[in-house]
């Protein structure tokens, strides 16, 4: 058996670090389908998984890839897939199944320019709203956005932990730039990595209810083959997992799905701040654009402009409360992202008119230069 955790210093791409993070998190199943710029995650998993007692399978399309990881998760295995825009669109159907059946799994979307085939080899951050709302119906989801190769490693572990803890598909919303850049990564000793696994049921197996929530709103999860004789369905269901076609049953299930996330926001939401305490202007950014923004904050400070950065590590659920608090004290917000205004709309919504919100966006294909952020700071404030 080869080690799951490649302790040491490495020089690798963001995609490869994402795969190594998954392995370090205990991922033992990857169902994939090739797509630029996420293919390297599948390739690394194909090479590494059999050596650590796991299984890689290349499925016939992305629909099958995500269906397979849901199946593997119900076999009790931590599972993952990775894709980019077009494949992410195909996965939406079964992301919904994962949400409603409360199936832990991780989906990496290494974003490229869209719509449609778009810019396969060039980066973007334009699937952020699709990550939030892409599958039909109303739901809560968790999405992270790595800004560096090192973060691709750690955030993938976080993604698995959150997914196991809250029984929800977790999205890693990376981008082509981080996915394909090479940087130094430090992988710690296995014992230094905190891992969370789903709670498993106790008590009489014949009385097991797959959706009877525990104290944090999440139900312990059995696996197929353990004698629980569970029924799991994409239909609206009750605690027993049985289809329940009524307005009340639907409301009850929806409450559970929403509340397990909404009541645990403090545990789930991760943000980082840089020079935000005394800032007049809050720059909000995530993923590779957070690096643009970091450079812009330093430059602005040199110019005497009091800018600070709120970096979203988890983009969904959105840190509404944080933006509300900032809106009380800053002169305005600038959101930096490689799309034409997605998270910007959230910032604007949460600022609630108390502070203006501006966008430094880009249609996609390249990183945003810090100069454009500086120009916006000078123009707007």
């Amino acid at each position: 058996m080869k080690p799951s955790v490649l302790t040491g210093e490495h020089y690798m791409t963001g995609d490869e670090a994402c795969a190594e993070g998954a392995l370090a998190a205990g991922c033992k199943f990857f169902g994939g389908y090739p797509i630029t710029p996420a293919t390297e995650i599948a390739e690394r998993m194909a090479a590494r998984l059999p050596g650590v007692g796991g299984t890689f399978i290349q499925m016939e399309d992305e629909i099958a890839a995500i269906a397979s990881i849901l199946g593997a998760s119900w076999a009790g295995v931590k599972s993952m897939t990775a894709t980019s825009g077009p494949g992410f669109s195909l996965m939406m159907e079964n992301i919904g199944l994962g949400i409603v059946t409360e199936t832990p799994c991780v989906i990496a979307n290494v974003q490229r320019g869209g719509p449609s085939t778009g810019l396969p080899t060039m980066g973007a951050q334009a699937d952020m709203m699709q990550a939030r709302w892409g599958s039909h119906g109303h739901y809560e989801i968790i999405a992270l956005a790595p800004a560096s190769v090192q973060e691709a490693f750690y955030q993938t572990i976080t993604a698995f932990n959150l997914s196991e803890k809250y029984r929800v598909p977790v999205l890693i919303m990376a981008d082509e730039i981080v996915g394909h850049m090479s940087e130094k990564v430090r992988i710690p000793e296995a014992k230094e990595i905190e891992l969370i696994s789903r709670l498993t049921p106790s008590g009489r197996k014949d009385r097991h209810k797959p959706y009877a929530a525990g104290p944090n709103g999440v139900a312990p999860m059995g696996a197929a083959g353990q004698g629980y004789h569970m029924h799991i369905t994409g239909l609206t269901h009750d605690e027993k997992g049985y289809p329940a076609m009524s307005v009340d049953a639907h409301a009850e299930m929806m409450d559970r799905l929403m509340n397990k996330i909404r009541n645990n926001l403090d545990d789930i939401i991760i943000t980082e701040e840089y020079l935000l305490d005394d800032a007049d202007i809050a720059i909000v950014s995530y993923g590779v654009s957070a690096r643009t923004s970091l450079a812009a904050v330093d430059e602005a400070r040199r110019m005497g402009i009091k800018a600070g950065l709120l970096k979203l590590v988890t983009v969904w659920p959105f840190p509404e409360e944080k933006i509300r608090q900032l809106a009380e004290k800053v002169k305005g917000f600038v959101t930096v992202e490689i799309n034409l205004g997605q998270i910007h709309l959230e910032v604007q919504r949460c600022a609630g008119g108390k502070a203006p919100a501006y966008l430094v966006g880009h249609p996609g294909g390249t990183i945003i230069s810090p100069d454009r952020v500086i120009a916006m700071l000078q123009e707007a404030f």
């Binding site: 059999p50 099958a64 269906a67 849901l70 199946g71 004789h229 994409g234 049985y242």
Partner: protein
Amino acid sequence: MTGKPKKAAEINQMAHPLDDLLRTDRIPHIWCPGCGIGTAFSACLNAIKASCEDLDKVAMVSGIGCSGRGAGYIKLDSFHTTHGRAIPFATGLKLGNPELNVIVFSGDGDLFAIGGNHFIHAARRNMDITVICVNNLNYGMTGGQAAATTPYNAKTTTTPVGNPESPFNLPLMAYASGATYVARWTILHARDLTLSIQEAINKKGFSFIEVLSPCPINYGRRNKEKSLDTLKAYQDKSIIKNNAHPADLETDFSKSIVLGKFVDTDRLTCIESYDKTCRLG
């Protein structure tokens, strides 16, 4: 016959011999009177009982549709997934825990139209699962639309003057894609069907059984076939021809319905092959 005939109330309280495998708290089921799915389903449950020593290790996966409700009635681990995706879900389940005996029970629309791509690839890679397709020649759940299995010229709600397209030959598709066990029966041949499912479950590799089954409510009604007429046709037109070449099977069931076991071969399963090829050293 001994004793007095039982009254209806007494009969209702009698235990069904398959009760131990049924979620009796979910009965009555949704299937219409005269529908054949129940017969196909009980054949499947009987086969599971006969061939699976450890029922804890059996899992059923269904897609969407009338037959897709099967997973909701079996009192074992059961997964009612999205439309067409039962096979890739089952693939992950099996790869995640190779000890599981995974049975896909679903309909023709689910497995061969929206899920057709998954079917051929699971057969190609010889996934060790058993796929039972209840073929009722149309989409019953949504009210009787044309399917990839609807006979030429048949009437459905989306082919009101007759189907201009031709149906798939399902056993041929399974065979051509690499399935190692292929059979076809009708619900009238419940005993053969049960034995065949038993054989398929015991068989390593991708096993496929097509079960012809009447849908009197949506297909029969529009094609002047009562449930009994369909069963009569199954009796009159069917010929059991084990080992018939799937390419020779008639797709026009009004001419003949060839039944039997057509394919029973061996090759490495997906998991065996993965272990052999990828887990070197």
